[in-house]
Symmetry: C2
Subunit: 144 residues, 2 copies
């Protein structure tokens, strides 16, 4: 844990859901918070740097309970492993098909619901695939 503030913040997330505060859970949360979106393997690789003896089973179990408790949110992307992020109200993502980076988007997605009449809506999930500005030059070069 880097500092007291982040420790308290992450700890509270768990306490609010009546989940015990363990070193492993704090590591998982802190890495997901730091990197935004991680899949199980990325998480395992990063955790073991600081904490070499965590069990993969523990990560699976914790991801699962945190999903059930709404602490985490899963982001399923075409052609990649499912990523996990801290739950927020926004669920729009931009995925660069070149570098695979994922960016959170703070856009209003409710416009897609105009004239929607198939039922009541719980949430809207938007994935935009494309080429990010950083990768744009690489592509242009390939084509020329």
């Amino acid at each position: 844990m880097k500092n007291k503030v982040s420790y308290e913040f992450l700890k509270n997330i768990l306490v609010k859901k009546n989940l015990k505060v363990t070193h492993q859970r704090l590591l998982i949360l802190s890495l997901i918070r730091q990197f935004g979106h991680l899949d199980i393997d990325e998480l395992y690789a990063k955790i073991t740097v600081d904490y070499p003896y965590i069990s993969l089973a523990t990560i699976y179990k914790n991801i699962s309970t945190m999903l059930e408790n709404g602490i985490l949110n899963e982001v399923k992307i075409g052609g990649a492993k499912t990523k996990y992020e801290l739950s927020t109200n926004s669920h729009a993502h931009f995925i660069c098909i070149q570098c695979k980076k994922i960016e959170d988007l703070d856009i209003n997605v409710d416009c897609v619901l105009d004239n929607f009449n198939k039922g009541s809506v719980a949430s809207v999930n938007v994935l935009i695939y494309g080429t990010c500005n950083a990768c744009q030059p690489k592509i242009s070069k390939k084509l020329s």
Copy 2:
């Protein structure tokens, strides 16, 4: 194959991509077309009714090549196995969180791209989760 028309239609999809027309591939395509969205297991279960000796490996290989060729499209849904559908221009889906049914939506999703400036866009994928009209009564009953 039900009839000549559907046979020709599905066959053409394969021919256009220089893929050999096999009984197995036609079955896969015809079931996906009939049911709209199927995951590997559903596909396997339905195929083996008509054609008991297909290998699961064949299904995996074919789904994979058809994805590469753009014939199929994968729909990754929260809390469920990835489903496959015939590729179309629209990529908006409504998923009922009660009965898990998936409906294709013919809505305009480009409105989410207003003011979008993170890069060039290749495709937009929209998932709307909620309760379909058919399941609405069941829910109201539970609450009362």
